[in-house]
């Protein structure tokens, strides 16, 4: 079974803010990490490989520094890793991002199953997985809670539909986005880290992707455009209290009483 796992490098914290006076975007440290939701997708892939055999490739789109996150996937157990990276992809929205990743996946070889995290912690859209599946011409299931059975023809999954839980069998190839807590991800292996050659990550630029249409890439290929960015609205009707813990708890108690919550 050949499994692809899509991952993304995300900021370590929500550190980007906009200065309300100058309008400049401010950054505060740049501790990047692997999107935590992707760990569940990778762990799921590793368990399928233990049972079925085969190969796991991880794929990411991002700047050169995203290589470190892809290396982490190799230390966890992925066999190969690919970074799709080119300035041509800068400013891509969901549509253009999915297009670029789909183009990259056509280069990385045949697959039976694609696994994604349920969303990223920076974009938070949960849209790239399903759009990617459509662009590759395969079906998908989102928010998968468990893989109940899998063989070389099909996979049976249970997925979360808010108030409902649905179990369904899907013919391969298909794409699944894996719910958090579907499993407990393993830690990267130090032994694998020592064994891994530093060039294990293959970088794919736009020039490596045959048939790529530059008009569908990056900002140009994005149907949605960011018109402006601004700081969130500040509530002007507000009261702020300072003082000792005693004073504050008394004030809060009085307030809750006055508003009839106590």
């Amino acid at each position: 079974m050949n499994i692809l796992v899509c991952v993304k490098q995300v900021p370590g914290t929500s550190q980007v803010e906009v200065d309300p006076v100058t309008g400049v975007l401010k950054r505060d440290g740049q501790n990047n990490k692997l999107n935590p939701y992707d760990l569940f997708a990778l762990e799921t892939a590793l368990r399928i490989r233990e049972e079925q055999g085969g190969e796991i490739k991880t794929v990411s789109m991002g700047p050169p520094q995203a290589t470190s996150s892809l290396l982490e996937t190799v230390y966890m157990g992925a066999d190969a890793a690919y970074l799709i990276s080119d300035r041509l992809f800068a400013g891509a929205d969901v549509h253009a991002t999915s297009y670029a990743i789909a183009s990259g996946i056509r280069r990385t070889g045949a697959f039976d199953l694609i696994l994604c995290g349920k969303q990223t912690t920076d974009g938070d859209t949960a849209q790239v997985g399903p759009e990617l599946a459509e662009m590759l011409g395969i079906e998908h299931a989102a928010n998968v809670l468990s893989i109940d059975a899998i063989d070389d023809k099909s996979v049976t999954v249970t997925m979360n539909l808010d108030n409902l839980i649905q179990t369904q069998t899907m013919l391969l190839p298909c794409l699944l986005t894996i719910e958090k807590d579907a499993c407990t991800p393993r830690l990267p292996s130090f032994k694998r880290k020592l064994e891994t050659a530093s060039d294990v990550v293959t970088v794919l630029t736009a020039a490596d992707l045959t048939g790529l249409d530059p008009a569908r890439c990056g900002l140009k290929g994005s149907p949605t455009q960011v018109e402006r960015i601004f700081p969130p609205e500040v509530n002007k009707n507000k009261e702020q209290f300072a003082g000792t813990g005693e004073q504050l708890s008394d004030t809060l108690f009085d307030l809750l009483q006055q508003k009839k919550f106590v």
Binding site: V24, T224, N235, L252
Partner: protein
């Protein structure tokens, strides 16, 4: 179309200014200036950098004939013939948006035995309800649903499409958007309509404390998803609209997925429906201290909820998470304890009737949205507050 570096304007000084200005570390300098794939096209370097050093060159993009696309459509999600309340909320917003351009409000209904649901959509203000009804559409199956949705778009040509950001909506909308090459904006917290029918979509962005205003200027349809409880449902009224039954054929129902069973989850109180909420964040020092917050919640008859880091730390189930990646809540009172108030969290609770925040850092963004802010240590405030409440209860 893109950023152009004007090397004649680049020297050590301007290069340093640009490198520091870029919030995404995408600019580097080694004698020549480089922009890497980390660029998010925020254009901060163009607007705030040394004049003329980096410019943005626009290419006139082909624009579709927007007048061929009419109507603000709502995908009406239903289970067992019952319309999801988020779809009714979206009908109310669709009415406001459609009024701006004098467009009709459309509803798309996919399912089985949908007559009652169609009537409900009419009562909530739909001008035209388009129904794809078949036993094969009883459960959510991705390809048939996407095929019916695409058929609706191709035949009716709606200008805007609003989809509830439920698990189903967040799975179906991107598949359809990718198929029809449409722009799709997830989890919008505000929507407006321009005179030229461009839908203005506002949502938190870049994973930071920033709002982005997003438009789809050149293509139709324009797609967005909106969380449950962001907007308010209109009052039901006398129906005035029409219901159109759309043909469903074998090709539309073809797919590679077979549903085995669909089970209703056991009923549990969802924080989305809570009237009072006590929410905790990273200000909580230890997992054991959840008990303190729980005692306060019990006293207030409140549901306990949390921020994302506490879910990631394994302290809480994901169902208790408020925010863009969790639940949206709109209680009468929310007490936010030890929560900094990142925009991701705020997006999930800012429309609450009364927001009380307790935080040690007086600059924490939570105080920007709180109606009542208490700058202090939660460990000094909460135990005494609980004590006072208990004393009062025993009087």
């Amino acid at each position: 179309m893109g950023l152009v570096i004007h090397s004649e304007k680049i020297n050590e000084e301007s290069a340093r200014a640009l490198t520091e200005l870029c919030p995404f570390n995408a600019i580097s300098y080694d004698g020549a200036l480089h922009i890497s794939a980390a660029c998010k096209m925020c254009k901060m370097c163009v607007r705030k950098g040394p004049a003329g050093a980096i410019t943005f060159e626009e290419e006139a993009a082909p624009v579709c004939d927007k007048s061929a696309w009419r109507g603000v459509a709502v995908f009406a999600e239903q289970h067992g013939g019952r319309v999801h309340p988020v779809s009714l909320e979206l009908l109310g917003k669709a009415r406001e948006l459609a009024a701006k351009t004098n467009h009709p409000v459309l509803a798309l209904l996919i399912g089985f035995e949908t007559d009652g649901a169609a009537q409900e959509l009419l009562r909530y203000g739909a001008d035209e309800v388009y129904v794809y009804d078949s036993p094969a559409l009883k459960e959510f199956v991705i390809s048939p649903y996407a095929n019916a949705f695409t058929d609706f778009i191709e035949k009716i040509k709606p200008s805007s499409i609003l989809v509830g950001a439920t698990s189903l909506g967040r799975s179906l909308a991107p598949k359809v958007a990718a198929r029809v090459h449409a722009g799709l904006t997830a989890d919008c917290t505000m929507l407006e309509m321009k005179d030229n029918t461009d839908l203005v979509q506002i949502r938190p962005a870049f994973g930071g404390n920033i709002m982005a205003q997003i438009v789809t200027p050149n293509t139709r349809p324009q797609f967005c998803t909106v969380r449950y409880k962001i907007f308010s449902a209109p009052a039901p009224d006398q129906p005035h609209g029409t219901v159109t039954s759309m043909p469903v054929d074998e090709d539309m129902l073809a797919g590679r997925t077979t549903v085995i069973k669909t089970v209703k989850k056991p009923d549990e109180i969802d924080i989305s429906d809570a009237e009072v909420i006590v929410a905790v964040g990273r200000g909580l020092h230890a997992r054991e201290d959840i008990a303190l917050a729980q005692r306060l919640a019990d006293r207030l008859g409140a549901q306990l909820a949390c921020t994302r880091p506490l879910v990631e730390a394994g302290w809480f189930d994901a169902k208790k998470q408020i925010g863009l990646s969790g639940r949206t809540v709109k209680p009468k009172l929310i007490v936010a304890i030890g929560i900094s108030g990142a925009v991701q969290f705020a997006a999930g609770m800012r429309s609450s009737d009364m927001i009380v925040a307790i935080n040690q850092d007086k600059h924490a963004p939570i105080f920007d949205i709180a109606h009542y802010g208490f700058v202090g240590d939660l460990y000094d405030i909460i135990p005494r507050l609980i004590q006072k409440m208990e004393e009062k209860a025993h009087v």
